[in-house]
């Protein structure tokens, strides 16, 4: 009896030792990969930061309105956020590569999915940035054109254009990430349709006065202004 127990314990201990001997080199490999990954990710972060500073990415981001969003969220500059993010993703990628070496059942499939997801994440981020940049540029262009054409409510027009472009960009981002694709598509359709319908109703019914004023400004003049020139030749 005693001999049997000792035998079983010895076998169990040997099993644990074998398992430990089996896993230990893999853990060491994981640590090494993690360390190498940290170094590579850090170098990548420094390189990316230098490149972004060289191309004045912060200025671009400021123009896009992304810097203001980051500032409101208490985050550092766009260059810093993007380099830290790249560092994080790169290091996580290496760690997951190391984890896959452990040979844990079921984990490898998840890791493969993560690696397939990373490019889509970057594409989504790129789309979001371009969307914000486009929204900022076109809303400012509309605002300036409206002010110089003496149209009513220029800021409203600028904001409407900004919102539509941002919603459009977000729906594209969600589609790329595969997150709530149908919901976003429906939401975009509803928002876009609502804005257009709202504008049509506002201009047709609610804004009769504004429409009249706009048309008068555009094509005619009041009695007081008869014989007066709107502006002089600038050149």
């Amino acid at each position: 009896m005693r001999e049997m127990i000792v035998n079983e314990l010895t076998q169990a201990m040997q099993g644990i030792s074998r398992g430990f001997a089996h896993i230990l080199p893999r853990i060491i490999v994981l640590v090494i990969i993690g360390f190498v990954g940290w170094v590579v990710a850090y170098v990548l972060k420094l390189s990316l930061r230098s490149i972004l500073r060289l191309v004045k990415f912060d200025k671009l981001s400021e123009n896009a309105g992304a810097s203001q969003l980051l500032s409101k969220a208490g985050l550092p500059s766009a260059t810093e956020v993007l380099s830290q993010f790249t560092f994080g993703v790169a290091w996580l990628g290496f760690i997951l590569l190391g984890v896959s070496v452990l040979g844990v059942f079921g984990l490898q499939e998840q890791i493969a999915r993560f690696f397939l997801f990373v490019p889509r994440l970057f594409v989504a981020l790129f789309l979001l940035f371009v969307g914000l940049l486009g929204a900022s540029f076109f809303s400012r262009a509309a605002l300036l054109a409206a002010v110089n054409a003496n149209l009513p409510s220029p800021r409203l027009l600028g904001r409407a254009i900004r919102s539509i472009i941002i919603v459009f960009a977000l729906s594209m981002v969600c589609e790329v990430l595969g997150v709530a694709e149908e919901t976003m598509l429906v939401a975009f359709g509803i928002v876009f349709g609502a804005v257009m319908l709202g504008l049509a109703i506002a201009f047709g019914i609610g804004g009769q006065g504004l429409a009249q004023q706009f048309l008068e400004n555009r094509f005619g003049r009041g009695k007081d202004d008869e014989g007066k020139r709107d502006e002089l030749s600038p050149l």
Binding site: N63, V147, L235
Partner: protein, 427 residues
Amino acid sequence: MKNARAADDSILTDEFLRQLINVGEVDILVGLPTHNNAKTIGPIVATIQAGLLAFFPRDRAAIINADGGSQDGTTELVLNAAIDDVRRGSKISALRTLHVISTQYAASPTRGTALRSILAAGELLRAKTSVVISPESTQVETDWLTKLVRPIYAGEFDLVLPTYSRHRFDGILLTNLLYPMTRALYGLRIREPYALDFAFSGTLGSQFLAQNAWQDETARAGSETYFTLNAIASRARICQSFLGTREHIERRSADLIPALRQTVGALFSSLGPHMALWNASTASQPIPTTGPEREFTLEPLRVNRKRLREMFSTGVAELESVFQAILSPSTLEELRRIARLEETEFRYPAELWVKTIYEFAVAYHKTVISRDHILQALAPLFRGRAFTFLAENRNGSADGVEDNIEALCLEFERGKPYLLELWNGTQ
């Protein structure tokens, strides 16, 4: 060899080149950059022909029409303007053939491309002097040609710019921004830096043609201003010639933004490449001028001043987010303050105007936002300044208007250290 280079790189079509080769060489080339100018072009061509017959009967001359895709028969009018009609009315006959060539350089007009075509033609024809006449002028006189060409023919100057007799409120962008700022920065009192009627030597034309600025959108839009500024930078010998009354087709209010691009855009973008020049320049000097530097006519003119002020106030209120990127907080605060003033009290002081312009110039140089947006944002502020200029000179004499412009010029000169501080980033 020189001709071959021009032909190689040029934008000239084969047909245009063939016509130019048939002409040979000329002494005087008259360039007409047109686009839908059927209303004015006929009399202008007739006047040019009469001017050439009267003042240059022994010289070889060609009229080159660079057209930007006119749909109203402008080119046909140019080509059909027969010199025989002019000869019949004149007792003088030309000893040489006067060639008239029309080419369409593009389907849509671009001032820079039109000027480039004329310059390339001038180089190919080895023109001693080239003259550009604006097709928008409704009153071109026969003696304009001799006034513009003679100083270059005499070998005394490379560029002859015009001065005109204008209404005191005509060309407010020139009198309130372009002239004073060019004068303050480059030290030359050039009254019309954006010249539409001007003449230049073959050497200066070739020099301008050879530069790489043609790919730049701003340079193409404001090629006339660029031409003047480049002549200043290359130390060309510049003079002015008084041409008389400048009558031109009425411009619409919508033309302000293109006008800003053609003039202020070109001036602002020249600051970077010519920094060493304007940094070294101190006080301004007059340049040789034939006739008066400027004449003002004073007939009454009803202008919708209320609209100008309203558009200024609306602009300041609505474009605050844009101005925050361009202007300093103190300038923006001051603009907000004057925007709240009643019409009777409203004034956009010269000092504040100069500060605003210099801050805009630096923002443009640093591209804080899209450069075109910076120019568009200037439009409502310019309207505020135009309102003030109208108010200050409503009952003024010609001398009073001139004094007002002179005071603004001096303000621009005084403000130059502020521009340098901003430029060098110490403010």
